[in-house]
């Protein structure tokens, strides 16, 4: 501290005129907010106690009012002179600056000063820096291209790099590890969500299956009703028409069970009470038919869907108008699936 005081108080040989650096109390209002408190040698006690508690101006006023206050050094003329002495990259009188091709110095395309808050906001700050630098780089490379200076390294040019291959490998592993970590966390989070909603999901699934079951049973019930009617008609001596054409083809959906065969009543089959119904159980056999009918009669559903009556028209279900030739099974299946 003392050393600084002495150097500043001496007249600077480089300066054209001697500017006194000692300022009296009268000039206190003109002084900027930051002051350095200086004690002259030999006067007062050089206590090492810190003065941070009270503002420095207050100390200056209270403790030693007769002392002088020193301004922060700011010798602009001297600095300019020094700059002109050493300058290589700036224009000075008598010497031209080195051209861009030598210096590669660029300026950022920035209109105002960057906010001080950026100092604390890491992400924003780095983004801003990268952005500004990229723009400047673009202008710089364009300039080089204008001057026909080749700057791009050929792809087969192998030379020593700033970082060794080993280090680059380490960096790569680190990046991969970070990626894996993130992915693992993601899957863990997903699994957690699934586990949380498991009950819900299962309940929904069950509902859907039961819905399907019910529908299928409905359709089978109608199917069996229709069969009963047809049989009745036949017994009554109805014309032996091509039954298949009357048969409402859309009910054939029932035969197409799920791949999981969910339609079946597993409990009955498991206990051995009932035989598992297979499509191969040809509906041609009477016994087969009866077993089907029995099975459909004993519906597990409480809402007796099988008691539903089909609406009948006079004389049974009418023949379909516009008789069309019935297609083979494979084509029927194909058309249904489409």
């Amino acid at each position: 501290m003392l050393k600084t005081a002495w150097t500043v108080l001496l007249p600077n040989p480089n300066q054209t005129e001697v500017v006194p650096k000692v300022v009296t109390m009268a000039k206190v209002p003109q002084i900027l907010t930051h002051l350095i408190f200086t004690k002259l040698v030999g006067i007062g006690d050089h206590s090492d106690e810190s003065d941070e508690d009270a503002p420095l101006e207050a100390i200056a006023v209270s403790k030693l009012p007769s002392q002088t206050i020193e301004l922060m050094a700011n010798d602009e003329a001297a600095m300019e002179k020094k700059l002109s002495e050493i300058a290589l990259f700036v224009d000075v009188p008598g010497k031209n600056a080195l051209p861009f091709s030598e210096s590669l110095v660029l300026t950022m395309p920035l209109k105002q000063k960057l906010s001080d808050k950026l100092a604390l906001d890491d992400l924003e700050r780095e983004k801003k820096f990268a952005e500004l630098t990229t723009e400047a780089v673009h202008t710089g490379l364009d300039k080089l291209r204008e001057q026909k200076i080749k700057f791009r390294r050929p792809d087969d040019y192998f030379a020593e790099m700033v970082k060794s291959d080993a280090q680059m490998a380490k960096i790569k592993t680190k990046i991969l590890q970070q990626k894996e970590k993130i992915e693992a966390a993601e899957t863990r989070r997903n699994n957690r969500d699934i586990n949380k909603n498991r009950k819900k999901v299962r309940a929904e699934q069950k509902e859907r299956e039961q819905e399907k079951k019910r529908k299928a049973k409905e359709e089978i019930a109608t199917y069996s009703r229709l069969r009963k009617q047809r049989l009745k008609q036949r017994e009554q001596g109805g014309a032996m028409e091509d039954d298949d054409e009357e048969f409402p083809i859309d009910l054939l959906d029932v035969e197409q069970l799920d791949s999981e065969n969910r339609f079946q009543d597993h409990s009955d089959v498991a206990s051995g009470k009932k035989k598992a119904w297979r499509p191969s159980d040809a509906p041609g056999e009477k016994q087969g038919r009866e077993s089907i009918r029995n099975k459909f009669r004993t519906s597990k559903q409480s809402n007796g869907q099988h008691g539903q009556k089909m609406s009948r028209t006079k004389g049974g279900i009418q023949k379909r108008k516009g008789k069309k030739k019935r297609l083979g099974k494979s084509r029927r299946v194909a058309s249904k699936k489409s």
Partner: protein
């Protein structure tokens, strides 16, 4: 390998005239007490600058001007000196030897190139673009700082170790009164030189190192001389540490005060126990 552009041919008036060249040589030194981190930063500087020479540690804290002698011996005109204090704080001197001005900075937020978070890489001793904040023109000390930084970091094209390619960029930005140093690799999107007409596809990847310089003072001589400028908003790390300790001391003081108050209060207002209190005594 692509040929270097011929500078003589570029000057149409006088083909034989030698263009002014940058013949700066930088001496990179440190004082005693540099730790691993600071030493790595020094090594990073040497890796990036082909015109830099390493010198032995300066054993005299008080006698920094001795560095000028080393610079003279090694025929360097610029000195980059890393001064370590208390093994925690790093100060950087940018000095023009032997007469030139010197600038003093405090280095903080240091991340060296060896850290694995910087994925970029560049050709060693290739030339780098230097990008400065326009705020460097706003005041004489900053103009001086810009000039000195250019002297140090601008790779001279005529140096024998320099590779003529440009594949990295160093940026100096001013935020909160400090200079932020960043070093990036320039990555081209297109692979074919001829296909590149637009440089809008260049991206930057950080190579490192990364640090922040807070300017402290400017001296007229090399490590000595009159103080030409002093940063009014600079607060040294010692002051900051002291202020922090004071704050924690204040907490303790407050607690002591509370304790005293409580004892006094208890003495003045003794608890009036009811008679039943005596039963279990």
């Amino acid at each position: 390998m692509e040929a270097v552009a011929r500078r003589d041919d570029a000057d149409p008036d006088n083909a034989r005239a030698r263009r002014p060249q940058n013949k700066t040589r930088v001496l990179v030194m440190s004082t005693r007490g540099v730790t691993t981190r600071f030493r790595h930063l020094m090594d990073d500087m040497l890796t990036l600058l082909p015109h830099a020479k390493k010198e032995r540690k300066l054993d005299a804290k008080q006698r920094l001007p001795l560095a000028n002698e080393a610079a003279q011996l090694r025929s360097c005109d610029t000195i980059l000196l890393f001064e370590a204090r208390k093994r925690h704080d790093l100060y950087l001197w940018l000095v023009k030897s032997p007469f030139g001005p010197s600038l003093n900075f405090h280095v903080a937020n240091l991340h060296t190139m060896a850290e694995l978070s910087f994925p970029g890489n560049a050709l060693r001793f290739s030339r780098s673009l230097l990008v400065f904040d326009p705020a460097f023109h706003s005041s004489p000390p900053l103009r001086l700082a810009k000039e000195l930084l250019t002297h140090v970091f601008s790779v001279p094209a005529s140096h024998r170790r320099t590779k003529p390619f440009v594949d990295h960029v160093i940026s100096f930005t001013i935020v909160d009164g400090r200079i932020w140093f960043r070093h990036y690799q320039i990555v081209d999107a297109a692979l074919n030189q001829k296909a590149i007409d637009n440089s809008v596809h260049s991206t930057l990847v950080e190579i490192g190192p990364r640090f922040v310089m807070a300017p402290i003072k400017c001296f007229s001589g090399a490590f000595q001389g009159a103080t030409l400028w002093q940063n009014p908003s600079y607060i040294g790390p010692n002051e900051i540490r002291r202020a922090m300790r004071k704050r924690s001391a204040d907490h303790n003081l407050r607690r002591m005060e509370h304790k005293d108050k409580r004892v006094k209060h208890q003495r003045e207002n003794p608890i009036q126990h009811p008679d039943i209190h005596k039963v279990f005594r």
